[in-house]
């Protein structure tokens, strides 16, 4: 009885951990040549799952910003230099526009499923 409970708790914990691991992905998006780049390719649209985190990593020798002023999400990551990365977790399903305020040509639509 006792071992069964412990076993059950353990099971719950492992499945949650596994579920989290499987569901919540960490995605790296580079800020490169004044555009958003994923896996070596310039992107303007990106689809993620609710709960996923995008790490915006500056790969240019000057500062970038990332902000979002949608109904769904609002954030402003300030400005940061080459090598630095800032995470944003996307929780609510929908479509949000992500942009660099310094270089507005850097623009991306994130669809959260």
């Amino acid at each position: 009885m006792k071992t069964a409970t412990i076993y059950n708790i353990l099971l719950v914990i492992t499945t949650t951990v596994l579920a989290l691991g499987a569901e919540a992905a960490e995605i790296t998006v580079l800020q490169q040549d004044k555009s958003f780049v994923k896996d070596g390719e310039q992107i303007e649209v990106l689809t993620v799952k609710a709960g996923d985190t995008i790490n915006f990593q500056n790969d240019d020798p000057f500062f970038h910003n990332v902000f979002c002023l949608s109904d769904l999400e609002t954030f402003d990551l300030g400005s940061y230099p080459k090598g630095e990365s800032k995470p944003v977790k996307f929780d609510k399903p929908g479509v949000v526009e992500v942009e660099c305020a310094i270089h507005p040509q850097m623009y991306m639509e994130v669809t959260v499923e």
């Binding site: 000057f62 902000f67 300030g78 305020a101």
Partner: protein, 350 residues
């Protein structure tokens, strides 16, 4: 004997290598050699062959000509006294030589008149980027109370009453008539035709020896290197199409922030082109600097305190007197060959 020879060889080697060292350390070493541009320079700064143009407003000679006539026509203003060219004067690098613009009723406006040179390549128009395209920009100054103060509906009637205009519109935009749309499109077509001509820098990029003087060549190295001007003035048009607060004294103009309320944009303005910049003093959106040397001194100080929002790319540069002079010399090497601009004869009423 052998020993002596060896000694002499060593001595020559020592002298030669110390000469080499002196040459290396002397700042004029690179320039004296004029090693020419790197492959990366050519790739990055070469002028494009094509002018970008929207699908629904391709440039044709008729459209450019009509746009030019409109651009030079003071009847586009309420006073019939001010044309676009009053402020964007081709004799003054398509600007006006004033710290800030002077408009309708001699009113002094809050911002300086930018050049229209290479606006075809800009992703945003105005100091704060509030218009995305030239078409969206063109009607603004006609209506603006401070600029030309002319109601557009009245203007359309006025233009329709001039037969020459009716014809020109018909040739440029067959069947579309004289309208806000066609006025904006024609003016934009003309503006797109105003592009920078070949400068000494462009010839140097092509490998023409002596195209830029040594000082300008050194200035280009400072521009890319120690002064890091390229963090913002990058590419053939010397603009990142971005918005930065470069630490001009607070003049209450929040710039891009009033369009997009993001903190980094407080007091941020669009990075302007540097082509022909030596022709368009005074400088900055508020016209506060009279010479390029004053501009360089500003950057050398790392900018002045401003709204606590200085762009982090702005730093004290520690440039020597020579480096500053070289930078200014380089900016002068960005002046394109003189372009003859003919003033059109305006159509009149019968």
């Amino acid at each position: 004997m052998i020993e002596k020879l060896e000694f002499r060889a060593a001595k020559t080697l020592a002298v030669a290598s110390s000469l080499f060292l002196v040459a290396l350390l002397s700042p004029s070493f690179v320039a004296a050699k004029d090693m020419g541009p790197t492959a990366e320079d050519v790739e990055k700064y070469r002028r494009p062959m094509e002018i970008p143009q929207p699908k629904n407003n391709r440039m044709t000679p008729e459209r450019i000509e009509l746009g030019k006539v409109l651009f030079f026509d003071p009847r586009l203003s309420g006073s019939n006294f001010i044309s676009c060219a009053t402020c964007h004067n081709p004799a003054l690098g398509w600007s006006d030589g004033q710290p800030t613009a002077v408009g309708h009723g001699m009113e002094v406006l809050g911002r300086s008149t930018p050049t229209i040179l290479n606006t075809a390549y800009q992703r945003f128009q105005f100091w704060d980027g509030r218009a995305r395209t030239l078409e969206k920009q063109a009607l603004g100054p006609i209506e603006a109370e401070g600029e030309m103060f002319q109601a557009l509906d009245d203007l359309i009637d006025e233009l329709k009453a001039i037969p020459g205009y009716e014809d020109m519109f018909e040739h440029a935009y067959p069947g579309e008539g004289v309208s806000k749309k066609t006025i904006a499109k024609a003016i934009s077509s003309f503006e797109r035709s105003v592009v920078a001509t070949e400068s000494p820098f462009d010839r140097w990029l092509k490998g023409v020896k002596g195209a830029m003087n040594d000082s300008a060549i050194r200035g280009f190295q400072v521009f890319k290197g120690k002064a890091n001007c390229v963090a913002c003035h990058d590419g053939f048009n010397f603009s990142d199409n971005g918005f930065h607060n470069i630490g001009l004294p607070d003049n209450k103009d929040q710039g891009r922030f009033s369009i997009k309320p993001i903190k980094v944009l407080k007091g941020a303005f669009k990075t302007p082109t540097l082509r022909d910049v030596a022709l368009t003093a005074p400088y900055m959106h508020n016209g506060q600097f009279n010479t390029l040397m004053e501009v360089v001194e500003h950057y050398n100080r790392g900018g002045d305190k401003n709204m606590g929002n200085l762009d982090p790319n702005m730093k004290k540069l520690g440039l020597s007197k020579k480096e500053k002079k070289d930078l200014v010399e380089f900016l002068h090497a960005l002046i394109g060959d003189p372009q003859e601009v003919t003033v059109p004869t305006l159509p009149v009423k019968k």
